[in-house]
């Protein structure tokens, strides 16, 4: 394992897909890096491009996809790999998916599926491969591995199967694991278990992890750094420990604030008006989030926001420096302060859907009535 430079470096990645004859952007200028042994969370809603990013890294984009920019793994350009090099790349970068059942052949036994890569690409003899598979299963907490190898996927529950997938992914001793919403379909207790396994394996094997999820709290809790995506772009990258207390981008703050709190209920949640856009729907030469952002001002709609580096993190926000330190989510409170500057943690209280700041916000539709009670008009525009 080389130690010079990051393990994975994505630089200016843009992807266009062919949909019904038209070319549509799904990723725009995505840049991120993961060091050896580091866990990076990638958080976003529908259309954010988070899954697409992982697929681009693993060369799993559909035919007809146009890729620009570079993806470098351990110094080598991933897009240029082919044949044997590509196979070797896939041994070092493993991927697990949200629905394990969709990615496993239901008529083959677990053992066959797990040892396939070992036997074919690495020419490991069958018995040895089986032994390693049982060992890998033990790593993920499945004790009776020998019996499991003989079973079929449908005999295992979702949680168990996902753990098998993790074990299978680790058999080739990869350096990087791409996990695309691996726990979204699992029960919350099983999710905690699977996350704990990933955590432990990571530290023991020095495995780097790109963890994709829609759950900001989950990513922040288990990853060293977290990146937030919106409309095909990365809008913030931050140390996870600082993400909730001191986010750099309004979207991150809004996302955290929109989530109900298991520790307390609030009169109203701070919902974000409108709905998450994908890259091809989002306005091109302005901030994609501006139409929904309560901090948006004129400059936000006049040009694409630059990437601003602050405090070790980065934010794609025109007003990043200005808003610095004011976006922190201090948990939901009943306070009703709604000013443009001030902790975003001021949750609903008696107020409504987030209203526009008094500074002449552009793009977001103003409520039709003052924020008292619940004017019928605002509901109609709060779409999603």
């Amino acid at each position: 394992m080389t130690n010079a430079g990051p393990l994975l470096e994505v630089d200016g990645l843009s992807v266009h897909l062919r949909v019904e004859g038209n070319e549509r952007p799904v990723l725009r200028d995505v840049s991120l890096s993961i060091s050896h042994g580091e866990a990076l969370g990638l958080v976003g809603e529908s259309g954010s491009g988070k899954s697409m990013t992982a697929r681009a890294i693993d060369r799993l984009l559909p035919d007809g996809a146009r890729v620009e920019g570079s993806i470098r793994f351990d110094g080598a350009e991933v897009g240029a790999l082919s044949g044997g090099d590509l196979r070797r790349y896939r041994l070092r970068v493993a991927m697990i998916f949200q629905d394990p059942r969709a990615h496993v052949n239901p008529v083959r036994r677990i053992g066959d599926f797990m040892t396939e890569v070992l036997r074919t690409s690495l020419r490991v003899p069958r018995r040895e491969a089986g032994r390693r598979a049982v060992e890998a299963l033990a790593e993920v907490g499945i004790a009776d591995g020998g019996r499991r190898l003989d079973q079929y996927p449908h005999e295992l529950s979702g949680g168990l199967l996902q753990r098998v997938m993790i074990a299978a992914a680790l058999l080739t001793e990869p350096d990087l694991l791409l996990a695309d919403e691996p726990t979204t379909a699992l029960d919350v207790t099983t999710q905690a278990e699977v996350m704990a396994i990933l955590d432990e394996l990571r530290s023991r094997l020095g495995l780097a992890l790109l963890f994709i999820t829609h759950n900001l709290e989950l990513a922040a809790a288990v990853c060293d750094r977290t990146a937030v995506m919106y409309a095909g772009q990365i809008v913030e990258v931050r140390l996870s420990s600082l993400l909730h207390a001191d986010p750099l981008h309004p979207y991150t703050a809004a996302l955290a604030a929109a989530r109900p709190d298991v520790d307390r209920s609030s009169a109203r949640l701070r919902a974000i008006p409108g709905r998450p856009l994908s890259s091809f729907e989002a306005p091109q030469n302005e901030c994609a989030f501006a139409p929904r952002c309560e901090y948006a001002r004129r400059p936000c709609t006049e040009a694409s926001p630059p990437i601003v580096r602050i405090d070790g993190g980065l934010s794609r926000c025109t007003r990043a420096m200005e808003l610095r330190g004011t976006l922190g989510v201090a948990g939901h409170t009943e306070a009703t302060s709604q000013g443009e500057v001030g902790p975003l943690g001021a949750a609903g209280g008696g107020a409504d859907e987030p209203t526009v700041g008094p500074g002449g916000q552009l793009g977001a539709p103003p409520p039709s009535a003052p924020p008292t009670g619940r004017p019928a008009g605002t509901l109609a525009r709060s779409e999603g």
Binding site: G141, E217, A221, D261, V262, R381, G384
Partner: protein
């Protein structure tokens, strides 16, 4: 065993109208007992949650309440009328539809793909109420406004609507029958976080405006906290804990409830392995849960998580 409150509704006020009363509900599928002696009561305009993971039986309870499954034994009484046995006539099923309605989880299959929103709502309204075309149009308009859809969206087909918009239509359709209780079966689970917040606010507003009661079926404790006043926790068919939501979540008595609570990701949370790593003592495939380890706070009880 766990200390489940014996009184099913610790705050039952005899003067409060009970919209829904479920007693000793049992459902067996062959040898499997999906629902095992479940009881609870729901008063008018109150909101309760049924919390559980997969296999807990919570969805089966929901289906039995609306008549999609037939109870093996036990009683369900809604609006004072017994509905423990399936309706034998369409007219009775319709009448029951005016008492309890349901919104499902998946926005992508919960609407007829060939019907516009207006026609979907119109069909239900025509089924239950005004035959007059002008009245129906008015009612459709009121419903779409209630759930926050504009006129253009009302004329759209489901395939032109997003997941959140479709869920709004599903809610409107359920409300078109003017039910006294609305069952929300993981109704926001498939929605983006920002949209989920909008729909949760919407649900709160609807309850305030129409006085409908909610039964929220969910595995998401934060959503449960936000939207429900009382909670019962189900595990493998049984109710393991019940009480006011705040109490159940802040001071869980049952080890399973504690485990659930501690599994919720939040800033500062670190996942802890319950089953051990390289081979020692786990069952891996769940046997009966061993008795709780007795740690009060951070150590969840050890138990077979998944099968």
């Amino acid at each position: 065993m766990s200390q489940v409150a014996l009184d099913p509704t610790p705050r039952a006020d005899p003067a409060e109208e009970q919209i829904l009363e479920v007693s000793s509900l049992v459902k067996r599928f062959g040898d499997l007992v999906a629902v095992d002696d479940v009881s609870f009561r729901l008063a008018r305009a109150r909101s309760m949650a049924i919390v559980g993971e997969s296999g807990s039986g919570k969805t089966t309870v929901a289906k039995m309440i609306v008549g999609l499954e037939r109870p093996t034994s036990g009683t369900i009484v809604a609006c004072g009328r017994d509905r423990s046995r399936p309706a034998r006539s369409t007219a009775l099923r319709r009448a029951r539809g005016r008492e309890a309605q349901i919104v499902f989880q998946d926005p992508y299959t919960s609407l007829d793909p060939r019907q516009t929103v207006e026609r979907t709502l119109d069909e239900v309204i025509r089924l239950h109420h005004q035959p007059d075309a002008a009245d129906r149009r008015e009612r459709v308009r009121t419903l779409t406004e209630l759930v926050g859809l504009d006129a253009r969206q009302a004329r759209a087909l489901p395939r032109d609507l997003s997941g959140g918009q479709r869920q709004r239509v599903a809610i409107a359709r359920a409300l078109a029958a003017e039910p006294r209780v609305l069952i929300l079966d993981e109704a926001v689970a498939a929605l983006d976080v920002s949209i989920q917040a909008q729909v949760l606010n919407l649900l709160a507003d609807i309850r305030e405006e129409t006085g409908v009661s909610y039964v929220l079926i969910s595995h998401d404790l934060a959503v449960v906290r936000q939207i429900s006043e009382d909670t019962i926790v189900m595990r493998e068919g049984k109710v393991v804990e019940r009480g006011p939501t705040a109490q159940v979540l802040d001071a869980p008595q049952d080890p399973y409830t504690r485990l659930l609570r501690e599994s919720v990701p939040r800033p500062g949370w670190r996942p802890v392995r319950r089953l051990s790593g390289a081979g020692t003592r786990t069952t891996g495939s769940g046997g009966p849960p061993p008795s709780p380890a007795g740690h009060a706070s951070t150590n969840p009880a050890t138990s077979g998580g998944d099968r």
